[in-house]
């Protein structure tokens, strides 16, 4: 337990030591939320509905998307990048030899404190829209909403780990990761403005809408239970796939040592 707390303290100290970086991150986050909310505010002056979402619902939708991304950034994004770099530069083996294993050492030592600074603001924005829509929300739905948010964060994590583990097989998965990141930026837009085939592909094949539309629809009681179940199971499916690819890749992996 002691070492886990030390890693956490390391992440916090890293963020507080380089204050300029933390401030820059916070400014960038606020600019991101502000610009997107401004865009929908401006569009809201001309349109009453965004697909099937009214203005409060789209606020909830966007805040859900940002919350998932923020939690991923705080907990896992740097660790996932570190994982990929370790494969490329050969130091992956050091992680495997660590007493607490590869994942615990990489994930705990890459806690992203600067991104955490904007999490309270996001929770406030998200909470505001949940309260605005409280007439449609039940306690059970709220719990399921929270579970799907956490599930979406894990989906992102294991999806990127799966993609980056393809580097074991000699593929330049860094570029693929960039492409997938760009695809996930689609999730910021309301899913119901897109054609059905696009919605299907970006929900079930490339699960971009899993991080925004599905949790939002669950809270608003507009989901189908198939997609809710898929949202909860998807991280574990990706985890199994990632384990398999990593196991296959490690058989032929050459690292550095000395």
């Amino acid at each position: 337990m002691h070492i886990y707390l030390e890693w956490l303290r390391y992440g916090i100290r890293k963020g507080t030591r380089f204050r300029a970086n933390t401030v820059a991150w916070m400014l960038a986050d606020i600019a991101l939320y502000g610009s997107v909310l401004s865009m929908y505010f401006l569009l809201g002056l001309a349109f009453d509905q965004f697909g099937s979402y009214d203005q409060d619902e789209i606020g909830l939708y966007i805040s859900t998307y940002f919350l998932v991304n923020n939690l991923f950034a705080v907990l896992f994004s740097e660790a996932v990048s570190q994982y990929y770099e370790k494969i490329l530069d050969g130091t992956y083996l050091y992680g495997v030899l660590a007493p607490h294993g590869m994942f615990i050492s990489v994930f705990l030592s890459n806690f992203n404190f600067p991104a955490l600074v904007s999490t309270p603001l996001l929770l406030l924005i998200n909470g505001f829209y949940v309260v605005q829509l409280s007439s449609q929300v039940t306690v059970l739905r709220l719990c399921l909403y929270a579970a799907t948010i956490l599930s979406s964060v894990l989906t992102l994590t294991f999806l990127f780990l799966l993609i980056f583990s393809l580097a074991f097989l000699g593929l330049r998965s860094g570029l693929l990761g960039g492409l997938i990141s760009q695809c996930f930026s689609l999730a910021e837009k309301p899913d119901t403005v897109f054609p059905k085939f696009a919605r299907y592909i970006f929900t079930y094949v490339l699960p971009a809408f899993m991080i925004s539309a599905v949790p939002t629809r669950i809270l608003l009681s507009r989901n189908n239970w198939g997609e809710a179940l898929y949202c909860l199971l998807l991280p574990w499916i990706l985890f199994l796939l990632f384990n398999k690819v990593e196991a296959v890749g490690l058989k032929t992996y050459n690292g550095v040592g000395g």
Binding site: A20, A24, S35, S38, L42, L43, A46, F47, L179, S185
Partner: protein, 261 residues
Amino acid sequence: MVSKRYIASSLRYHMAMFLRYRLKVVTSFFSEILFPIAVNILFVVGLTDDASTGLTPADLVQYVITANLIFMFSMSDLDCVVAKDIKSYQLIYKMEAPVSPWLQYVLSDLFSKLGNLLLFYVPFFLIMAVLGNGVTAPLPLIAVFLWISVVLGYCISFIIGSLAFWLTEVWGVAAIKNLVLSVFSGTIFPFSLLPNAVQNLMNCLPFQYISYIPASILSGTVDLRDAPTLLLGGVFWSALFLLVAALIWRCGLRKYEGAGT
């Protein structure tokens, strides 16, 4: 005065770098050009599906493609490049070169975008030629507005990059620039969708000259009788941003110290 040899060698270098990593070229086409444009098109067309906006889906597609391509061409990551050079010894070398640092940055960026222009933008121009109503505005007018857009983009980048003379990190400010400009320049949706009062407010801002005005002129949605007023506004803003960029650069150079071997 820039020598032809410098231009030729810089051009050769950037085209070689562009074509060196072919997989990166392919993935950057999909992730930086095709996908964002496709998403914006589907978003705007889907949003205005059942609303009476006076614009047909073909008009919106043409506008979104034009605005996005102009935005991608005008905006650059020069702010980070300039900031990096200020933080390291590279700026001193650039200042010692016979070509001014600003010109080096601008030419380097333009040449690196030339590959994108020739290889990627052409398919989109073909789509617009098929879908669109053709170009009704005179070519010199289009060229001037595109020039204003590029000047504004570079000036904003220089202003932000020059902040590195005083700040330790400028990437946050650069991120703000990218996010704010993508909304307020009219890249995602045309301002003509907004109520008149809001449009008037947006018209007071300089950012419309980055995407909205050139794209509207190219796609023929702007009344050409408004062109002189728009031109005057564009010239004013680009001159102002040029002046601010030059002032900030000069003030920064006064306090700058660099060392190298």
